[in-house]
């Protein structure tokens, strides 16, 4: 058995040279490729020293899960298998992570809901699993088209939630995600969201570093709970059972435990700021009174609307793109909308969970009118023209 510590290991199990996360994300030379979001997932996983992945072939992420399987064949992923159901997958993922494996999986839409009980369980057991969620509609009626309603359901599971706008974001977030999620003081799951089909199935230019370098392996000895190891104390008998009967513990323990999971998300802020180069991104005129606050492809469409408003109507506007939802970048958002008179929140769902979030965090901090529009769902697209029209109509009647 090797006595090498993580810092002394120069190559991972796949023979890739281990480099620092900063080098991999910020310094390594990059080359341009033309690929789908699913292929971007594969390329990120290839460079992430992943130990285990479990898959279930739900649309639209099946291609990504399939491609991770190809990585297993190629020797880049330690363990790969297919679960019996979405619930099974998310449970098996937990098992891999509890045993100290860096683990990733993917899902979307109704599969997310079928597996749902596992997400707060992941958070409560402090496993740094990464779930790539390619958001899609939730039935009924059954939809396999883009819609991000399920993201609203996931907001308070105790998982970190990051939102990628495009394949480039997705690639970088998957790599950064492992680094942040595995910090000992953080160590909660990360759900990396991307809009299904719009990003998963379309090709775009993406800059990626060479595939002979990879992240340092996960070090489970720094986990905030003992990793399950039946041979070696102190891990041998110290894990709590997942179901803790209330007569064995104080009720305050359960409350404290839940607070601790949320505190862990707070502790991720400085790391996420570093590895994502900020929790928000601004586009357009910084002083604009018309502001779009959005995430994912809604932010992409809003950027185009900003260009159209300026070029065709002479109206200044800007986009505040939220890269993280948990932790929510409330300080950055409040600062970025200080000049705003109108805040539009374009969303790909019917309920407006993003508008609710924005309204909550800006309450008492902004006098701007918050408008939850435009709102499309069920697979509809959100043309930039629709966003522009929404703004013009709103301004015109006032």
């Amino acid at each position: 058995m090797s006595n090498l510590t993580t810092s002394e290991v120069k190559v991972n199990k796949s023979g890739q040279r281990i480099v620092s996360p900063d080098y991999l994300l910020f310094e390594a030379p990059r080359e341009k490729f033309f690929m789908t979001g699913s292929e971007a997932v594969k390329e990120a996983v290839k460079r992430a020293s992943v130990d285990a992945s479990v898959s279930y072939p739900i649309t639209p992420q099946s291609e990504a899960a399939h491609l991770i399987g190809e990585l297993w064949v190629e020797g880049y992923v330690g363990v790969y298998f297919r679960g019996e159901s979405e619930f099974g997958v998310m449970s098996e993922v937990a098992g891999c992570a509890l045993a100290g494996a860096r683990t990733i999986t993917t899902t979307s839409g109704p599969g997310t809901l079928r597996a749902f009980e596992n997400f707060p369980m992941w958070a409560g057991t402090r496993i740094p699993v990464q779930l790539v969620l390619m958001a899609r509609g939730v039935n009924a009626p059954l939809s396999i088209q883009p819609d991000n309603l399920e993201v609203g359901f996931l907001l308070d599971t105790g998982c970190m939630i990051w939102y990628a706008e495009n394949a480039q974001d997705l690639f970088d977030m998957i790599l950064a995600g492992f680094v942040v999620a595995e910090k000992p003081a953080v160590h909660v799951p990360l759900i990396t969201v991307v809009d299904g089909f719009f990003v998963s199935h379309t090709r775009e230019a993406i800059m990626i570093p060479p595939d002979d370098i990879a992240l340092p392996p996960y070090d489970p000895t720094k986990a905030p709970m003992p990793v399950i190891d039946l041979e070696v104390p102190p891990g041998r008998f110290l894990r709590d059972p997942f179901v803790m009967k209330s007569n064995y513990i104080s009720y305050a323990t359960h409350a404290s435990w839940q607070f601790e999971v949320r505190a862990a998300i707070e502790r991720s802020r400085p790391y996420a700021k570093h590895y994502l180069r900020g929790l928000i991104e601004e586009f357009g005129n910084p002083e604009a009174e018309i502001v779009f606050v959005a995430a994912g492809t809604a932010a992409s469409q809003a950027k185009e609307a900003v260009r159209m408003l300026k070029d065709e109507e002479g109206i200044e506007a800007k986009v505040v793109k939220l890269k993280t939802l948990r932790p929510f970048p409330y300080e950055e958002l409040r600062a970025s909308v200080k000049n705003a008179k109108y805040i539009f929140v374009p969303e790909f769902n019917v309920v407006g969970w993003m508008e609710r979030e924005i309204t909550k965090w800006l309450y008492g901090y902004s006098n701007a009118k918050i408008i939850g529009a435009p709102r499309v769902a069920g697979g509809m697209t959100m043309p930039a023209e629709v966003i522009v029209k929404e703004v013009l109509n709103y301004i015109k009647v006032r």
């Binding site: 000992p184 102190p234 404290s256 502790r267």
Partner: protein
């Protein structure tokens, strides 16, 4: 605010309520302020030497000889207890225990207040407790007791303790023992 308890009915997470986070490398946290490690160590020693029934709560990471560091730390904890005139009550098992723990001889993260109340502990040091369980316990202790909590963590620290010292390895423990001896001499204890 992040101050000595009891803070109220519900466990108190300073990261959420007060936005207090762990100190950066090289620094320590004293309530809600980043200070030099030596300053925090002096305050920690002072609290242990001046408050009633100071107690060290060692966890599995120093109770089991799972690494060379753990073996060294176990001996250092005993020495530290002597210097600080402190008792040692182990947190040796994180599992809930039915019907309840014996607060004379153990502390459990699921109801740490029982041990603190029973022994009237007014200052304590967490060392070798896995971060999650330390954090769960520290939030309850601040809510329900007036115990001055000190965390000596080998990783990033515990903002829920009144004093948190991060990256604490045998070398740092030696430093703390020396500072504790100085403070003890200054206080004439």
């Amino acid at each position: 605010m992040a101050k000595l308890g009891p803070s109220g009915f519900s466990p108190y997470p300073v990261a959420i309520i007060d936005k207090v986070l762990n100190p950066p490398p090289g620094k320590a946290l004293l309530f809600d302020e980043f200070v030099d490690e030596e300053v925090a160590m002096r305050e920690a020693a002072k609290a242990m030497l001046t408050r009633e029934n100071p107690t060290i709560f060692p966890g599995p990471q120093v109770l089991y000889a799972w690494s060379e560091d753990a073996k060294k730390k176990a001996k250092q904890v005993k020495e530290l207890a002597q210097v600080l005139n402190a008792k040692i009550i182990p947190m040796y098992d994180y599992r809930p225990k039915y019907p309840k723990i014996n607060p004379e001889v153990e502390i459990n993260p699921n109801h740490p207040n029982l041990t603190i109340w029973h022994n009237n502990i007014k200052a304590c040091i967490f060392i070798g407790v896995h971060c999650h369980y330390a954090n769960v316990a520290l939030k309850i202790i601040r809510a329900e007791t007036d115990c001055f909590t000190i965390a000596m963590c080998s990783l990033e620290g515990h903002e829920d303790a009144m004093i948190t010292l991060r990256d604490q390895h045998p070398e740092e423990l030696d430093k703390f023992i020396e500072i504790a001896k100085q403070v003890k001499a200054e206080l004439g204890k």
